[in-house]
């Protein structure tokens, strides 16, 4: 394991195990040893009492008949008990009568007098126990036995307990190692793998890696699962972020290009507007100059002709300015949506045209279609442009037909204005709706080149679009749609 964290976790597990088992073991050993010590001491004292009693009983005759040898023999029997270090038989007046000392014991037995009335007493000092017992025979005290014993086995027992505790502790350590190695497999290894994965993610910013899930469905597995889930989300966001950034870049480039184009168009537009206004203005100035230089007696007819020319020039200028205003309004005016009868609008326009040029032989076919929701003023401008367009480009034909109607194409209502006039080259249909792009010469058909651009903007404002089909001298059809759902109910 190269990761320091893993070692510390497994080591911690092992130490925890050792700490717990060691503490329990030590406490248990202390408890057992204390109990053992107490019971051992008690049993020793009990056996010493018995010994003292036996020795006392057996020493009665020796005491009564002053037989120190017999008493010494009796006392020496205590040597069979390994704990007894020394013993002393004392007469009633406190005089030593007989003594026993284990070989090697140099200290004489102290013989403190028993308190009056007590039969036996005991003293415990360290590992030494001294017991005194009065010898009673036939109801009379005849002497006292003192026995000094050493709790020799105490230290021996303590050593044994220590050895056992050490052995068990070693076993515990072994078991702890085993357990921790098992725990490393089942618990630590997934954690280590998880940590390695997390490190890799943070170092390489690679969100495609996944931590390996452990086989057991424990908390670690949940952790790994949650981590992987987090990675999935991060990866998704990362991808989305990158895509968004790229898209944004593309969009910015597109917008920049579009803005540039629009700018260029605007410059061209301004130039064209200035140029187109300049033409009639030059004409007006020239004619005003002519009028000024004209003598009073000049012919009335001549003057009238010049004035008529003047009027036409200003009329053209006014038309151009009106168209420009319409275009501007189509782009900026706020929409007032309401039900609009397109059929009525188209009829009004057609009647107006026929009244102005009654000599033209134009057949109108106007379909009755349901009302739509739209801005009436703008729709009037749009339809006016389209119908006038058709009127204008059929002017070279002796008899013409202009149709207005609607068809249903794939669930969408498509309106059309169709004529059988001059038509146009289908290849140039894209340029139809650009301002000041005229497909026909000014001498051929009069016009400003702004009308269709205005129509397109109006329809775009309504969420619709317009396109045209046409063939040279075969007529043209302008198709347009309004925003779906624009049809007014009723």
């Amino acid at each position: 394991m190269k990761m320091p964290g893993s070692r510390s976790i497994s080591a911690r597990l092992m130490w925890m195990n050792l700490l717990v088992s060691g503490t329990v073991l030590i406490l248990a050993v202390i408890a057992f040893f204390s109990y053992d010590l107490v019971s051992y001491r008690q049993s020793l004292i009990g056996s010493l009492e018995t010994s003292a009693q036996i020795v006392g009983t057996n020493s009665v005759s020796a005491l009564l008949f002053d037989d120190q040898q017999s008493a010494t023999t009796t006392l020496s029997a205590l040597g069979d008990s390994p704990d007894v270090q020394a013993a002393m038989l004392v007469t009633n007046d406190g005089a030593p009568f007989a003594e026993y000392r284990r070989p090697g014991v140099t200290q004489a037995v102290p013989t403190p007098a028993l308190t009056r009335g007590s039969v036996d007493e005991e003293w415990v000092k360290g590992s030494h126990v001294m017991l005194a017992r009065r010898i009673i025979f036939q109801g009379k005290p005849e002497g006292t036995v003192y026995i000094v014993a050493e709790l020799k086995e105490t230290t021996q027992r303590a050593r044994q307990y220590l050895m056992i505790a050490l052995a068990v502790l070693l076993i515990c350590m072994g078991t702890g190692l085993l357990i921790s190695s098992t725990a490393r497999k089942t618990l630590v290894r997934p954690l280590v793998a998880l940590a390695e994965t997390a490190r890799r993610v943070s170092r390489e910013r690679d969100y495609s890696v996944r931590a390996e899930a452990p086989p057991d469905k424990d908390e670690v597995a949940v952790l790994v699962e949650a981590f992987n889930e987090m990675l999935v989300q991060i990866q998704a966001r990362d991808t989305a972020l990158n895509r968004g950034r790229e898209e944004l870049e593309v969009r910015v480039q597109e917008r920049t290009a579009a803005l540039r184009a629009a700018n260029r168009e605007l410059e061209a537009f301004s130039y064209t507007v200035a140029h187109d206004l300049r033409g009639p203005l030059d004409a007006v100035q020239g004619m005003v100059y002519l009028l000024n230089g004209m003598e009073k007696e000049a012919r009335e007819g001549e003057r009238k002709e010049i004035l008529e020319q003047l009027r036409l020039s200003t009329l053209g200028m006014a038309g151009l300015i009106d168209d420009l205003l319409n275009l501007s309004r189509a782009s900026t005016a706020s929409l007032k949506r309401q039900p609009v009868e397109l059929t009525t609008l188209v009829r009004g326009i057609a009647e107006d045209l026929q009244r102005r040029e009654p000599q033209r032989r134009v057949e109108f076919r106007i379909e009755t279609i349901p009302a739509v929701v739209a801005d009436e003023g703008l729709m009037r401008v749009a339809l006016d442009n389209l119908i006038r367009n058709a009127w204008k480009y059929t002017s070279r034909h002796e008899a013409a037909r202009i149709e207005f109607g609607a068809v249903n194409r794939r669930g969408e209502t498509v309106y059309y204005v169709k004529d059988d006039g001059a038509g146009f080259d289908p290849k140039l249909s894209d340029q139809l709706f650009q301002p000041f792009h005229r497909l026909h010469g000014r001498g051929e058909f009069p016009g400003t080149g702004i009308g269709l651009a205005t129509v397109q903007r109006i329809l775009a404002r309504h969420g619709g679009r317009i396109w045209a089909e046409g063939t040279v001298e075969q007529g043209a059809t302008f198709w347009f749609t309004l925003k779906s759902g624009a049809a007014a109910s009723g």
Partner: protein, 176 residues
């Protein structure tokens, strides 16, 4: 005996300083014998310690045992002047001055449950049960078990343990 126990040598002067006269020791022993003896009749009434015609010793014993009891029996010490008067005695002491007259005393108690104690050199040989002997400066005693058995007097093994010499064997009902 003290020579056998080097560690005990220091005790000897103290013991000798308090040692009573031989009579007193013998009187105490006479009394103590009673504690290790069982008589066939079990014993009832005061236990009589008889001293054969010896006035001084009788007084020593009387003085020593006044107020004492053995196995709950009161003690009665009396001097007997003639062997016929030994009836009722449990212990009979026959001192050395009466050695010449030993025979009648032992004859008088023969077959009777009387513990006979004496200090004559041939007391045991003549049929006595316990004989005081002088060992160095200690008063000790020897036991003739056969004599005791003949009279049905049981001597405790504790007593035999401290005897200098035991002749004969314990009887079938030997006291423990």
């Amino acid at each position: 005996m003290a020579a056998m126990l080097p560690g005990m040598e220091s005790l000897a002067p103290a013991a000798s300083a308090q040692r009573a006269s031989q009579d007193q020791v013998e009187a105490a022993y006479l009394y103590n014998f009673g504690k290790f003896v069982r008589w066939p009749d079990g014993g009832h009434g005061p236990l009589q310690i008889c001293v054969a015609g010896q006035d001084a010793f009788e007084q020593t014993v009387t003085k020593l045992t006044s107020g004492e009891q053995i196995d709950g029996r009161a003690l009665q010490v009396r001097m007997v002047e003639r062997p016929e008067l030994t009836v009722g005695c449990s212990i009979l002491f026959v001192g050395s001055p009466d050695r010449a007259h030993l025979e009648p005393w032992l004859a008088a108690t023969a077959g009777k449950p009387v513990l006979t104690v004496g200090d004559g050199a041939d007391f045991l040989d003549r049929g006595g049960m316990i004989q005081f002997v002088q060992v160095e400066d200690h008063v000790r005693f020897s036991v003739n078990l056969n004599a005791a058995n003949r009279c049905g007097v049981e001597l405790s093994s504790e007593l035999l343990k401290v005897a200098v010499r035991v002749t004969g064997r314990p009887g079938k009902g030997g006291a423990q």
